[in-house]
């Protein structure tokens, strides 16, 4: 290492330290942000990492800079170590260092009464989650127990606690909530979201609409997904629709993510999307399902479900889509009803069971009379069909008025 590069490194490290302490002392949240975002791969931090590798004795510099403020050293030493480790791809180390630094930062952050550093805190919250995910990946590849994201989750809860109270920092709480959601969804511990949601939704002193809209969209997206898990389709549709409406239309990936859940939810309450929407957002996995719903093609639905089973299971909409079967039956019977009506309007409201069984046979669905009878009974029971089933004559007798009520945004009654 040449002397010049050493001194250069020395200078740049000192610069960084100065920037940092200046940003803190002048309460410049924006410039502090850039100094904290380890995973942004900014040229500033990348070169800083190289400098740190070059100038091994950098901790002495930190100590010198620390003379004014002791606590900054507690933030900076692990932070720089994290930058170094991140640069060399040692994410577990990077995470451990960053967690230390983040805790020290949070300690400081609590003492700052104004909200100037909220954005910097957001960066910390984001970074710790990202680093935790990277670290977990590294741990998993080493065959170790990936537990860092869990640790990040508990740190984020601390951050949330420091923001969620009354006061100017409250506005930053939703961002952290969303980071928490991301961590919890990844971990599969979505039940942990409940307490955070309660805290957000029950606070009377802070209107939800006052949060930044990007956070609101994210929040609605995740809470909508939670409602999908709970099979609470109306609420899910409402939240996801909110997210869709407020999402920046340029963020197609985000729109697509929202639609991935919104479409099945809407389908389950009887609202079909236009094919063009599916095409636009490349949601082709739903194309066949929508078609099946339109045509009453049970076979197509089952095929589509089977084809994308893994994907649907992963995203968690499989169970929602599976329940569309009843609507497909309904559509099928309606089709038969329409045919009969064309042939003989007077007898249209009486559909023989044999006819339905035959129709299903054509669809290569092998169901015997009992089963079909059962399905008809269920259709009537679930109010997808008006009428009754005459067991002795094996005939479905449909109501003359509106025999196939539309769901129109209401869920299938259970």
């Amino acid at each position: 290492m040449s002397f010049t590069s050493m001194s250069e490194a020395h200078r740049r490290i000192a610069d960084f330290l100065n920037h940092f302490s200046e940003a803190v002392s002048s309460q410049d949240g924006a410039s502090l942000k850039s100094l904290l975002s380890v995973s942004s791969n900014s040229s500033l931090l990348l070169s800083l990492a190289d400098d740190l590798n070059l100038y091994q004795d950098w901790s002495r510099l930190v100590k010198q800079a620390e003379r004014n403020s002791h606590t900054l050293g507690e933030i900076l030493v692990p932070h720089l170590r994290c930058v170094q480790s991140y640069r060399s791809g040692r994410f577990v180390e990077a995470y451990a260092a960053f967690e230390k630094s983040a805790n020290a930062f949070l300690q400081e952050f609590r003492n700052w009464e104004t909200a100037w550093a909220v954005e910097a805190m957001h960066v910390v919250a984001h970074e710790i989650r990202i680093l935790a995910e990277l670290a977990d990946k590294e741990l998993a590849s080493l065959g170790k127990n990936p537990e860092k994201l869990q640790g990040a989750g508990s740190f984020l809860m601390k951050v949330f606690g420091s923001l969620a109270g009354k006061g100017p920092k409250r506005v930053g709480a939703l961002y952290v909530t969303c980071q928490l959601f991301k961590a919890y969804f990844k971990l599969g511990t979505v039940h942990l979201c409940r307490s955070v949601i309660r805290s957000i939704e029950t606070a009377k002193f802070f209107d939800f609409e006052e949060f930044p809209s990007s956070d609101k969209v994210t929040y609605m997206y995740y809470t909508g997904r939670l409602e999908v898990y709970n099979e609470n389709f109306v609420a899910a549709a409402q939240k996801l629709t909110y997210a869709l409406m407020h999402c920046n239309s340029r963020h197609e990936a985000n729109l697509r993510m929202i639609l991935k859940y919104l479409i099945p939810v809407k389908l389950s309450i009887g609202i079909l999307p236009k094919m063009s929407l599916l095409d636009k957002f490349h949601l082709t996995e739903y194309t066949d399902i929508v078609k099946a719903l339109k045509q009453g093609d049970l076979r197509l639905l089952r095929r589509a479900l089977q084809e994308h089973e893994d994907q649907f299971l992963r995203t968690g909409v499989y169970l929602v889509l599976e329940k569309l079967e009843l609507q497909v039956y309904q559509r099928l019977v309606k089709k038969i009803y329409i045919f009969q009506k064309q042939k003989d309007p007077s007898k249209a409201h009486q559909i023989k069971l044999d006819v339905i069984v035959k129709a299903l046979k054509w669809l290569e669905i092998d169901m015997d009379v009992d089963e079909v009878e059962c399905m008809m009974a269920i259709l009537i029971y679930k109010n997808l069909m008006k009428g009754y089933f005459a067991h002795k004559s094996k005939v479905v007798v449909l109501s003359k008025q509106e025999p196939f009520p539309k769901l129109n945004g209401k869920p299938v009654s259970s």
């Binding site: 099979e231 008809m376 009974a377 269920i378 029971y381 009754y388 089933f389 005459a390 067991h391």
Partner: protein
């Protein structure tokens, strides 16, 4: 008055133990269990007697339960124990006749709770003093040990002191405790926790001792019985007996002095001490006097006479060792300081103790045995074992003799009489130390010469010299001495090579096993290897070993460790002039001999007890800070020492020696009893040696976390195929744990059993417990869980099934083969049918491999899922009928819900009627699984269905064709879900009283 006070102290000690309990007991518990065989049983018997310390009783009783099983397993041992206890009690009664009934009763009880206390209160003064002063010293030690326990745990120690004080007589108890401690020491070697126990129960030992002493005077047989018992416990008992004998002699000697001292000076000194009192040091001071007195004893011909006979003749070394262990314990405990003081006084014993302490871990068992050596001791040991923790504590108390002063001081406040007694006992305790010295005298001459041969003065650290002396002092003859020399030279050369000659704490260095000792050569080799490997940080080692036992202790130990080392050094220096012994190997053997503990670790009581002992020891050692005070005390005591040689003392010694003889006989008997265990024991010994070596290594590394838990895993010895399930509340007792091959038989037994589910469930749970405790995870484990899972399904016991299921998931994930598909289908069905959690369902479907999805059972489960999800009752009941029997059982639990949903659906959608026969067909009422729609089997199903429909409020009408019909429209408003008939208020019909009865039958 005295008794009550003693009780108090007992309770207090028990409290301590309880407080520490988490540390000591819990960890120790295992140790205890291991002990249980010996001590545990005793403890049980004692417990019964002991009303005093509820806390201790509780703990002991719990342990006692464990012990019982252990006893059974050990067989002969167990039998002995009970007998021992009996004999002891009888002995105590005898004693009481002579000395004081109350005291005896107290003794009996004491073992359970706080031995020393009870004893101390009642009889110690009278019985102990008169019969065996040596015992007293031991008692004092016990008290000290308790004190040490206190030092470990401030609260407890204080209380202990208080209790001690009351029991001035305790000193007597303490002596007993010393014996016990000796016993405890072995245990401690195994488990530090036991030491803790000892601390807590130290009193108990004294009590036992008290009995013994009384026995000695009154009924030697009883004591002998006890000794026998102890023997039986330890496979090497025969050898031990000898050791015991020697040790006993030592004890006697010491007692003599102690009694002398106690009678004269003690009271005075103690009170003064108590005045000082409050100071731990004050208490410690008394011990120093005791030590001085001990010295005097050594010097005194009387002591030699008794001791010489026993110890010298038999195995002075061993006896020394035994004592040494106790001493070590003491040192380790609070006593350390005291001990050091004694050492200062030039008591070789102390050095020995230190050395023992180093080895103690292993030694503890032996040490306890050694304690027994004094005939009383042997008896006591068993009790001690039971009380072990208490015993250890008592040892500590010895060390802590100072604490006794404390106690006395506290007692002085509350119970003046007791204080006096305590003081006397304390004095006695000191004598015990003296007695230790006596053996030294015998050994010393030769050993010092030998030592000179190997270790040139000046060229080596004095502590090394003392170490060498210790090594030689245990040699019985020239052959051994030569072998010793060779080994010692090797060790020293080795130390030189790695330049640890001056850095090594030789005082703490465990003695290598005697080359030609009576015990198995193999064992010795193991021991030696362990000893050699154990090297460097004795105090810490013990700590590290025991760490698992109790964190607090660990901390304490850590804090104490440094002091110990320093003390050790001082001791070593002082001792350098003296002699010594190698209780170590004896102690080593003892731990080994204790079969159950050896097998596997923490779970076993014995092991735990050992650990606890060790920890106590270490603690004692740590408490070295008190040594200064002790030294002061020794000065006081020195004046009292003169009394040691009194005729009374001689008599007592004689009694003791007689007891010892009896004890030896009984011990041999005990060996005979042990027969079946013999082979196992050897294995156990080896295992224990390995364990010890391991622990030493751990200590060296200094990290508790490094402990290899595999090495500590319990290995069952029970041969019973049938075993009732009892949820463990403490460490498992290897004697009640069945090894794998027996478990296999047990599984087969359950599989072929004709008994009801509750019986099978109980058996399977106990099998599972044994597997878990032994950390067996293989195909047998899977088989057991699968069997249980299936049986649970059959019986509709979903909670139990879920337990099995979750274990199976883990086992399958580890790659152990079994009926994975079958059970993944079960688990899928469980989620589908019995859980409302959609996420669980998603993830369990998602986690199915493609191969799994091809499995018939899994396919079936998925079909059930879609039927349920769609509400397709026809499909559901078709699948229900087609399902393999166990899946049917699982689906059974969902049938009612499904039927009701279906009937609601039907009554809403069908008009005007549906035939009941159709409903019966569709809803799976036709019992024969044939799909026959056509009513071939309809009759049965029809009736059931009709009944079911009526029960659910359906409106049934008979139409003109005489077929029963469901009036759909009318029914749609009248359907309801009836309350389950077999509902139980608490919601779990498995807990119904009737079931308990059937289970019990």
């Amino acid at each position: 008055m005295l008794p009550s006070s003693s009780i108090w102290s007992v309770t207090s000690s028990s409290n301590h133990s309880v407080e520490e309990g988490s540390q000591v007991h819990a960890p120790v518990i295992t140790g205890h269990y291991s002990w249980p065989a010996s001590a545990g049983q005793v403890a049980v018997s004692w417990n019964y007697g002991a009303n005093n310390g509820p806390l201790e009783n509780a703990t002991s009783s719990s342990s006692g339960d464990h012990y019982d099983p252990l006893r059974d397993s050990t067989g002969s041992e167990g039998a002995h124990f009970p007998t021992n206890s009996v004999s002891q009690t009888s002995a105590s009664s005898n004693l009481s006749a002579t000395n004081g009934n109350p005291a005896y009763a107290g003794y009996a009880q004491y073992p359970n709770s706080t031995y020393s206390y009870g004893y101390g209160n009642m009889q110690y003064q009278s019985n102990y003093y008169s019969p065996q002063q040596a015992n007293y010293p031991s008692y004092q030690q016990a008290g000290a040990s308790q004190n040490s326990g206190a030092s470990y745990q401030p609260h407890s120690s204080f209380q202990n002191t208080g209790s001690y004080a009351t029991p001035t007589s305790y000193s007597g108890t303490y002596f007993a405790s010393d014996h016990q401690t000796a016993a405890g020491c072995p245990t401690s070697g195994y488990v530090n926790q036991t030491n803790y126990w000892n601390d807590g129960s130290g009193g108990g030992y004294p009590l036992q001792y008290a009995n013994f002493p009384s026995l000695d005077t009154n009924s030697a047989p009883s004591t002998s019985n006890t000794t026998n018992n102890s023997y039986s416990y330890q496979p090497e008992c025969n050898q031990w007996p000898i050791n015991y004998g020697t040790s006993v002699s030592n004890v006697n000697c010491t007692p003599g002095p102690g009694s002398m001292v106690s009678s004269t000076v003690p009271t005075a000194t103690y009170p003064t001490q108590s005045a000082n009192g409050s100071y731990l040091y004050a208490s410690s001071q008394p011990p120093p006097p005791g030590t001085t007195s001990w010295r005097g004893d050594l010097g005194l011909p009387n002591l030699p006479s008794s001791q010489a006979q026993n110890a010298v003749a038999c195995y002075p070394i061993s006896s020394w060792e035994e004592k040494a262990p106790t001493v070590q314990n003491y040192n380790l405990n609070q006593i350390p300081s005291d001990l050091q003081k004694p050492l200062d006084l030039k008591l070789p014993l102390f050095e020995n103790h230190d050395a023992n302490g180093k080895t103690t871990c292993s030694y503890d068992p032996t040490s306890s045995l050694q304690v027994f050596p004094s005939g009383q001791v042997s008896q006591i040991p068993q009790q001690p074992l039971q009380a072990i923790s208490a015993m250890d504590a008592s040892r500590v108390s010895k060390m802590q003799i100072p604490t006794n002063p404390r106690i006395s001081s506290s007692l002085a406040v509350g119970v003046p009489k007791l204080d006096k007694e305590g003081s006397t006992t304390n004095i006695v305790a000191k004598p015990a130390y003296l007695s230790v010295q006596v053996p030294k005298l015998n050994n010393q001459l030769s050993s010092s010469d030998d030592t000179d041969a190997v270790v040139k003065q000046g060229a080596f650290p004095p502590s090394l010299r003392s170490y060498a002396e210790r090594c030689f002092s245990r040699c019985k003859d020239d052959a051994e001495r030569d072998a010793n020399k060779i080994i010692l030279s090797e060790i020293i050369a080795k130390a030189k090579d790695d330049s640890s000659l001056w850095t090594k704490n030789w005082d703490m260095e465990p003695l290598f096993p005697l080359p030609n000792s009576n015990s198995n050569a193999a064992d010795r080799n193991i021991l030696r290897s362990t000893v050699l490997s154990t090297p460097k940080f004795p105090g810490r080692r013990t700590k590290s070993r025991w760490e698992p036992v109790a964190e607090e202790r660990m901390d304490i130990k850590v804090a104490l460790v440094n002091p110990d080392s320093t003390k050790n050094v001082s001791w070593a220096e002082r001792l350098a002039g003296g002699r010594i012994h190698e209780n170590e190997w004896n102690s080593m053997k003892l731990p080994l001999s204790q079969p159950p503990p050896l097998n596997k670790t923490p779970q076993r009581p014995l092991k735990k007890s050992r650990f606890s002992d060790i920890s106590n020891i270490t603690e004692n050692g740590n408490s070295s800070s008190e040594s200064d005070k002790e030294q002061e005390l020794t000065k006081h005591y020195s004046s009292a020492i003169a009394l040691e040689n009194s005729p009374e003392e001689k008599k007592r010694r004689e009694h003791r020696s007689k007891r010892f003889e009896n004890g030896q006989e009984r011990r041999t008997d005990g060996k005979q009893f042990k027969p079946r265990a013999a082979g196992v024991e050897n294995i156990l010994r080896k295992a224990s040696a390995m364990l010890l070596a391991k622990s030493y290594d751990d200590q060296c590394s200094g990290a508790v976390e490094d402990i290899n838990w595999n090495a500590l895993t319990v290995k069952g010895t029970s041969q019973e195929v049938e075993k009732r399930y009892l949820r463990l509340t403490s460490a498992p007792d290897p004697a009640t744990v069945r090894p794998e091959e027996i478990l296999e038989k047990a599984l087969y037994m359950v599989q072929t059993s004709q008994k009801n589910y509750l019986y099978k469930c109980d058996q399977l749970k106990s099998i599972r417990q044994d597997l878990t405790v032994q950390r067996i995870q293989n195909e047998l484990t899977v088989k057991v869980y699968e069997t249980h899972g299936r049986l649970a399904l059959e019986a509709g016991d979903l909670p139990e099934f879920n337990q099995c299921q979750s274990q199976l998931k883990r086992l399958y994930a580890e790659g152990i083969k079994g009926c994975q598909m079958e059970f993944s289908a079960y688990s899928l069905l469980c989620v589908i049918l019995h859980s409302n959690n959609k996420r669980d369902l998603l993830s369990s479907i998602n986690s199915l491999s493609n191969a799994a999805k091809q499995d018939e059972a899994v396919k079936h489960a998925l079909a059930v899922h879609s039927a349920v999800s769609a509400g397709n009752y026809v499909l559901f009941f078709r699948l229900y009928k087609a399902a393999p029997s166990l899946i049917t059982c699982l689906m059974d639990l969902h049938v009612e819900k499904m039927r009701f949903e279906a009937i609601k659906c039907m009554s809403k959608s069908y008009r005007p009627t549906i035939s009941v026969s159709y409903i019966a067909h569709v809803l799976g009422f036709s019992t024969s699984a044939q799909t026959g729609f056509d009513g071939e089997n309809g009759a049965n199903g029809h009736e059931d269905c009709e009944e079911w429909l009526r029960a659910h409020g359906a409106v049934l009408i008979v139409e003109n064709n005489a077929e029963l019909q469901l009036d759909a429209k009318a029914s749609s408003t009248t359907l309801y879900m009836p309350e389950p008939e077999d509902a139980v208020a608490h919601g779990d019909s498995n807990l119904a009283v009737d079931d308990f009865f059937t289970r019990a039958s």
